[in-house]
Symmetry: C2
Subunit: 527 residues, 2 copies
């Protein structure tokens, strides 16, 4: 049941003065429930409870935390159609996407549970003592990763489940041993409350401390600002726009005690189409990319917003095929009227730049809040000279850049801001002739793809989702996959600590049987 | 030979207008050589060369980089007495310390070389494709750590070798594959130039690209500011004061492209003396701590600046013994007249606070620039109420806090800023009765020590040197030990990349034989 209130730990609370509703973009009407934005008292209480919960929660074993995460997954599944229906009415996304995203959310939680059960993620490193060493004895040192403290997670507009309330950031932080305070995304506050109720049920059934999770409603920026500035908060996770992420990063950096902000932000995900591939596979590539540009109304951070090729007949043919394909695709609903109007505004602002030619712009009649997909072409020289063209247009839009030669293409890549992904479309051999381009691309992205599309982010340990700024605020970490747990932990060393008082992960006998580095050797043996 | 010039890559250059000399604190005179501060043109050239060198250097194999690091170590040893003499005349530190620090510097370089030769440090993670997976095939993903780009390293005043020109930050960054620009510390510019000449020789003999290393002289803050703001610089390493580190962190955070700053800053390294240990071992502990407080004139970031105990006869006896022991120790020379005058000023400012009692202050005649060691006592309540008393006094000084009870002691720890280390002095069993205190301490530090002293930082993989702010600007990393390489790298994923074009670390056959995580299993096998 949706109450419109905040979860301050286990307690439903709605003392604030500000209220708001979510919006159904398909029906173009407000949804029924009224949500109450968290008050400053509620924010403070959530932070206080989180700090208190941290003292208990950071002592929980991996096995206990795994039970908790699996219980969250079970409780989310138990919400059944009420969750799916609320998701759809608050996002305009189809049921299939809701089910798929729920599946991803569940499997992320269970993947972290598995990591915790296995236990080696703490990166235990042990250097045993050498009492007889000269001139001074060598001490016994044992190191492992420990949680940072309460983490604030910002729900993302474009992933009401997988990057929001119980999404990747929350799952990773809870797995690490950090309490989580979610700043719920206003576009899907009902979905957020339902998922929060599932987490709170799991808190209760698995005996986790009150305050290990809170969910705060907000309609504007105030709640988020207060959370990031709160002295009890020790780290921040965010997925969204560059403007939003940078604002949070600046607030966090200016604190008396600066804290890490892991913000996963904008990206136009350049795709480089090498000549032989274009000559041989233009039609197939056009179909593939028409789909990749428009999937989910282009509302993915890995949407291919920039296609680069060498100018000439082959690139022209590809452009024509892509234009033909893309207008055949049925437009889909965007998340909110504000998002579609931003899309149309940014698209027209991009198109209005000198030298841009519209290759396709869906022109037929269209349902309310549905997005008209479009592609445009521009000369490499023009693109290189105008940084405004490098900005993301969030939606089903892509720019095709006709480069004079490989040197110009390399210059464009070298002058781009950091990106989540870069893609090379190549016949198998020709990529060898473009070492400079590939090397420049590697320097600008977090993931490089061969003959594929950037959309579709596999959740697995080898995934890197995060790249040089402004793709992320800290490229040293990933936002997707189990390695994302590393954002919320720090290494901690015990020197000459009594074995009985060490955490199990570091005890001599290795009671958990985890993989550790002992005196330089990776081993599951005791020491 | 010392020329007083900067190394802009391999080229000696001294075009700037500002000159300065180093100082011999033992003789209380300026040293002979005149150093020329780097000009803005020289800074820009060093950055340009570093960016260019990065393109070549980041392709070097681990084996090639290991040869380079070992060659640096060899060339530093070859400097022989000229280096040791210059070190001593620029620091006032004794020859034994110079030799010890040189040994540490050499062994750090060789330790990183070993890590590179073995190769598994890149954390290769491989998830192989599942083409038949429904509804969509699983792609092949291969991830490893890659270097960030040019790194600026600030030399530290208190470690002319081990935390300066070819110190831990430089060794880690070069090992990672990042070119390094050193902002030489003005107190030991001659030592810095000699070590730089060794690095440049190693660059030449091992065929490394010009610009992989530069060394810039500076007398004030300008050179450092310009380097941190330079768009070609991608990360910063710093060891020094909180004020200095925070200033660099702020500059780096406010850049158009923010970059990571790993600053290892101040710490007062609380030591908690539990009652039974104090009762049984006061005399022995007093001797041990008199040495730890005064070693190196207290000019270590791990100097024990705060000793906490429960008030009463046993703590009083310990205090008296410590006072007796500490005045027996021969005062030693500090690094520079400015450092000794800051020490005396901060010490007197601390002592002048209401409620502080001087327990010992070396009062005999003393040589020029030598530090008078001192200890003071204060009531827990007074300490808790006055944050000024929590500030580091850099030098041979420690404050003994007499706590009313365990609860007050825990409150003091909980209210402290982040620290590098925390120490518990305990008989083996009594620590079990102080869970709250130990837990609070763990939450405030990066390394916790049982029955030892915080001084003496072992260089090994299990060492954590770095703690919650302001001990470090990013507690997620260490500044000492081979794990410190992680500050200068980011994860990078290859998706469906042709095997022949992958780095050796990720190839199917695992030609380097490194330990990788392949489909969840740690293995040295191919896949």
């Amino acid at each position: 049941m949706i109450t419109g209130k905040n979860y301050i730990g286990k307690r439903l609370s709605g003392n604030g003065a500000k209220t708001f509703r979510t919006f159904n973009p398909l029906l173009n009407i407000e949804n029924e429930h009224v949500f109450t934005e968290a008050s400053i008292e509620e924010i403070n209480e959530a932070a206080f409870l989180a700090t208190d919960a941290y003292k208990v929660y950071n002592q929980k074993s991996g096995a206990e935390k795994a039970v908790f995460l699996n219980a969250i997954a079970d409780e989310i599944l138990a919400l059944d159609t009420s969750l799916i229906n609320t998701y759809c009415t608050e996002s305009g996304l189809p049921e299939g996407r809701a089910l798929g995203e729920r599946g991803r959310t569940i499997s992320q939680l269970r993947a972290f549970a598995k990591v915790l059960e296995e236990g080696s993620w703490v990166e235990a490193i042990i250097d045993t003592a050498i009492p007889e060493r000269e001139p001074i004895p060598k001490v016994d040192l044992r190191k492992m990763l420990v949680p940072l403290g309460p983490v604030v997670v910002f729900g993302a507009s474009n992933f009401p489940l997988a990057f929001s309330t119980a999404g990747g950031d929350t799952a990773a932080a809870l797995a690490a041993g950090c309490p989580v305070i979610v700043k719920s995304h206003p576009l899907h506050a009902g979905t957020g409350e339902l998922v929060s109720s599932a987490i709170i049920k799991a808190v209760e059934t698995t005996g986790m401390p009150n305050g290990v999770f809170s969910n705060l409603n907000s309609s504007g920026i105030e709640v988020g600002v207060q959370l990031v500035q709160h002295p009890d908060v020790k780290a921040v996770g965010f997925t969204g726009s560059i403007r939003g992420g940078r604002a949070l990063f600046d607030l966090a950096s200016q604190r008396a005690e600066p804290i890490p902000v892991f913000a996963e932000m904008g990206s136009i995900n350049p795709v480089i189409m090498l000549p032989n591939a274009l000559k041989d596979r233009a039609a197939e590539l056009a179909k593939t990319y028409a789909n990749s540009i428009t999937v989910g109304s282009g509302q993915f951070c890995t949407n291919p917003g920039l296609l680069l090729g060498l100018k000439g007949e082959d690139f022209d043919n590809f452009t024509k095929s892509l234009a033909d394909e893309i207008v055949e695709i049925e437009p889909s609903c965007m998340l909110h009227p504000d998002i579609i109007s931003a899309y149309e505004k940014n698209k027209h602002s991009a198109i209005s730049h000198e030298g841009l030619v519209v290759a396709a712009d869906y022109g037929s009649e269209i349902a309310v809040n549905h997005a008209r997909q479009a592609i445009v072409t521009v000369a490499g020289k023009t693109f290189l000279a105008n940084k405004n063209l490098h900005q993301e247009v969030f939606g089903p839009f892509s720019m095709l850049v006709q480069c004079e030669d490989a040197k110009e293409l390399e210059a464009i890549i070298s002058n781009m801001e950091g990106q989540l992904t870069g893609t090379i479309i190549s016949d198998n051999n020709e990529v060898r002739d473009y070492f400079g381009i590939v090397s420049a691309l590697q320097n600008r992205v977090g993931r490089i793809i061969f003959n594929g599309v950037p959309t579709g982010v596999e959740v697995c340990p080898a995934m890197q989702h995060g790249g040089p700024y402004p793709a992320s605020t800290d490229s040293r970490f990933t936002a997707v996959g189990t390695q994302s747990i590393k954002r919320w932990v720090r290494p901690f060393s015990f020197q000459n600590w009594p074995d009985a008082l060490l955490p199990d992960e570091l005890k001599r006998s290795n009671p958990l049987g985890i993989s550790r580095i002992v005196n330089g050797e990776q081993t599951r043996k005791g020491n």
